[in-house]
Structures are given as C-alpha cells and as structure tokens.
C-alpha cells in the first residue's frame, strides 16, 4: 500500500514538473515548430529565412570549426567591460543623487534626460578621434547606452527606501555605512537589478550597432553578420543572430541568478 502510494506520488511529481515546463515554454516550442513547418512546406524562401534546424546545425558547424569563436569573444568582452563600467559608475552615482543630494538630482535630472536621448553612435567618429583606439570607443559607447537605465533605476530605488526602515536602523545605533549597506542598498536591490537587465539589452544593441557599422577592428558578431550579408551567406547571418540572442539571454539569466543569490543572503 505504502509503496504504491509513494510511487503514485513520484509519478504525480514528475507529471507536475512536465506540466509546469510545458506551460512555461509552450509558446517558444510552438513558435519554433511553426517556423520549421513553414520552412519545410516552402512558405519561407531559404534564400532569405533559414529553418531552425538549419540555423542550429550551421551555428554548431561554425563553432566547432572555430570560425565564429573569436567574434563571440570580442562581442562578449566588449559588452561585459562596457556594462561593468556602467554598473561601477551608475550605481554609486545613483545613490549619491537619489539618497544624499536630492536637490542636485532635481536640477541634474533634466540634463540627464537630454543626455540619455542622445545617440552615441552619431558621434562615433569624434570618439575615435578622441580615444584613438577603436576598442576603447566601442566600450565607451556600450557603457554610455547601458548606464542610463541603471542610473535611473538606482535613483528611483534610493529615493524610495522606506524612511521607517532607516529609522529602525538608526534606533539600533547602526552607523551610516551599516545603514547604507544593510538597509538602503538592500532595499533598492530589485530596482538596481531591473536597471542592469535593461542596461544589458541596450548595451548589446549598441555593441551590434558599432560592429555592424564596421568601424571596429573587424571583429565581433555584428561584424560577422554584416560580412555574411555581403557574401550572401544567409544561414551564417541567421546563425550569428541566433548566437547573439543566446549570449544576451545567457548574461541576463546569470544576472538573475546573482540577484537571487544576493536576495537570499
């Protein structure tokens, strides 16, 4: 009796897992199946749109033959450096403005909104002149694009720290650093992380923009896609897009994991 019910329980558990998996990913699965079917039937012309299986096979071939690894690393490193810079600068700045110097923030905010609208790609030639090195200019552009969402969200987070929490901390004689570390930073964490996620999106956008403009040293996924376009390698284009989407997803997911870890401790 007992064994049977345990078995039933296990089966039920597996079933529940499968079910929740389906609910979560059903849209993606259907999308890919539909895409594949339409490709096989011939609705999608392979000269313009590759089928999912073709994309995955091509991507795999490109990776194992080492034709795209360098490009992936270039893009990845540029984006990581740019976003790290943005995080290092925007989070402290956000706290200074949102938490400690609210009056300055009031006057600076309109200026920041103006700067935020400004597209750094348009001044790329000037940046190259100033920085001389191409890599640095790419990183600066990624940093520029990524910092605004992080800054804005940090300011919002710092401003919205519940004053009672600070009172609680003060009442227990915590010093200013501890109040910042244990209360102010901790309670704005979720705001900061949604800022970082948005920053990653715009950072990638800018990275591909710069690379596709061909103004870099001729490396990076954006350049790879651009190059494949020139050579008419349709499946290479799609493989490049596939890989860059995966990269962005990967970084966002790892940021989510970091957030989860920090929130537990």
């Amino acid at each position: 009796m007992k064994l049977e019910s345990a078995k039933e329980n296990q089966i039920y558990k597996i079933f529940a897992h499968v079910r929740s998996f389906f609910i979560k990913f059903i849209a993606i699965i259907l999308f890919i199946i539909l895409w594949e079917v339409l490709s096989i039937v011939g609705v999608f012309d392979p000269n313009f749109i590759s089928s999912p299986t073709n994309i995955i096979i091509t991507a795999w071939q490109l990776i194992i033959h080492g034709m795209i690894i360098e490009d992936i690393l270039y893009t990845l490193i540029r984006v990581i450096i740019g976003i790290s810079l943005a995080i290092l600068i925007a989070i402290p700045l956000g706290f200074l403005l949102g938490g400690y110097f609210k009056k300055i923030e009031e006057s600076l905010n309109p200026f920041f909104i103006l700067l935020e609208q400004f597209n750094p790609l348009t001044l790329f030639h000037l940046l190259i002149l100033v920085t001389i090195i191409n890599e640095l200019s790419t990183v600066i552009i990624i940093y520029w694009a990524a910092q605004w969402p992080i800054l804005n969200n940090t300011v919002t987070g710092a401003k919205n720290v519940n004053p009672t929490y600070v009172k609680v901390a003060k009442a227990t004689k915590l010093d200013k650093f501890d109040i910042f570390w244990k209360v102010q930073l901790r309670s704005s964490l979720s705001n900061i992380f949604s800022g970082i996620r948005l920053g990653i999106l715009s950072g990638f956008l800018m990275a591909f923009g710069v690379e596709m403009m061909g103004m870099t040293t001729g490396k990076g996924l954006g350049y790879f896609i651009m190059n494949s376009q020139m050579n008419g390698e349709v499946s290479f284009i799609w493989a490049g897009i596939f890989i860059m989407t995966l990269l962005s997803l990967l970084i966002t997911l790892s940021i989510n994991q970091i957030e989860k870890y920090l929130c537990k401790n």
Binding site: Y165, V168, A171, T172, K173, R186
Partner: protein, 320 residues
Amino acid sequence: MNLNLSNFNENTKIIKGHDNISEVKEELAVNGKEITGPPKIRIDNVKKIFKTKNNKTSKIEDFIALNDVNLDIYKGEFLVVLGPSGCGKSTLLDILGGLSPASEGEVKIDDNVITEPGLDRGIVFQQYALLPWRNALKNVTFPLENNKKDAESEEIARKYLALVGLSSFEDRYPHELSGGMKQRVAIARALAIDPEILLMDEPFAAVDAQTRAILQEDLLKITENTKKTVIFITHSIDEAVFLADRVAVMTARPGTIKEIVNIPFSRHHRIATDFKNNSDFISLRRRVWDLLKEEVIKSQEITEKRIKFEENENIDGGGI
C-alpha cells in the same frame, strides 16, 4: 473598588510643571505598582518646532508641534500617551527615542540627557516596519548583529520569538505573516536588545479589532513579566484605558499634556476580570473621552460649524 470620580466635570488644567512626586506614588500604589526613587524618564519643557513653507505666502514659518511638554515616567510604569491625530504624539516618541532632537527643553533618562538613540530604548514603530527581505528570525537579530556573534544573536532572537508566541514562524518572511504576527515580531525585535524602556508608537493601529484585543492582553503580560517601563502612544481611548497605569491626555496642536488620568486597577485585575465591560472601565473611558473630545474637535478644525441635530418640530408629520 471605591472610585472617586466626582470631579468629572472639573475644569481641566493644562499641566505646566511636573506633578507632585509623592502624590503620583500614592496613585500608582493603587495600581499595584510600587514606586521607588525618582522618575526614570523626565521630560522637561520640551518644545518642538518644524520649519515649514506656507503655500500661500511661500514664507518659511514655524510649525509648533509640541509646546512645553512636562511628564515624569516611573520605572516599571505603563504610561499611555493619548491625543488627537496630529497633536505631536509621534514627534514626542521620536524625541524620546533620540531620533530627532527637541528644539527646546530636554529629556532625561536617569539624569542623562538624551542626545541620540540608545540600546536602553526599544522602539516598536507604526505599521510593523519589518524589513521585508529578512525572515522573522533575521528581523529580530537585526539590532543584535553589530554587537554579538551570529549564533548568539539567533539564540536570543529565538527566545524572544518564543516569548511573543511565534516559535514556529521564524523562517517566515513578513509578507507570509498576518498583521498581528508582524507586530509580534516587531515587539520581539524591540525586546531583543533587552532595553529598560519600551517605546511604542501606535503599534496596534493597523491590526483588526479582535487581534488587537489579544495583542493588548499579551503585551500587558509580557511587560509585567519583563518589568519594562513602557511609553505607549495611541489614539484609541479603549486601548489607553485598558493598557495604562496612567493615561497622559494631550491637547490638539501644539501638543502639550492636558491632564494625567490614573487608572486605579492592577494589570492583573485588568486581564483577569472582564475589565472592558466593567462599569469602572466605562466611567474611566467616559472621563478620558470628555477630556479628549474638545481637543479632537479643535484638531479637526470644525469648531465653527459643528453639525447639530435639526430640531424638527412636527416630528409626526415628518418623513416621507
């Protein structure tokens, strides 16, 4: 019990100085409290002024929140500060807690003037004020972490969670707790530093009526067992009369102490008997309400147009 309530409608006095200590001691002796020594907390001519901007003239003006507050609180006493909303009760508690300085006057604890927060005072704030990213246990260890090792502070926290009856809920996060439980955790957090004085700022205001009744009883028991001096702020007359050894009634803004009402029943009596339905309770409540009513009206600024019953002469012919 023989109550002298003949001076119900006596013109109430605004307390300008401190009470006669020996008189107060006699009063408190009736409550089953033996008072030894000078007042534990002495509030001396405290005044609090905020600078505010007038919307019409946009000039900076003085906003007097508290004016000449004088109050003595004795060791082991449960003093309830009762006043209309906006009379500066919470401001007074902030000053006692050392979270904001008095503009004039001073507050002394055992002859030491308060200038900053201290671990001799535990504060229970309005609206729970639990840190939502910490579970119940970690919320209680929060004030201990700086001075004690993790294991030690967790042990203390467990002890106080048990005291408020939440032993099996230590892993729960605030959003998983009911309002009453949250406030119990907040009380445990305030007690965890083992303060001599417990400051409570309308702690039960956000809790439903039935839970509140239970919390009040438990609070009385806990404070009696732990021998804390309690200053409890509320705007609920029932709560004040039920909990207090003495009720300090405040005036409308600028807040000052209007009168101190002694509640001549021991805590044991209040818990053990059906005190809230007792005629003594009702007459005390009536007396406090008489003191407070005028201030409430003042604070709501409706003095000019008090709503009156319309004196309808032909009641028989009235209606539809």
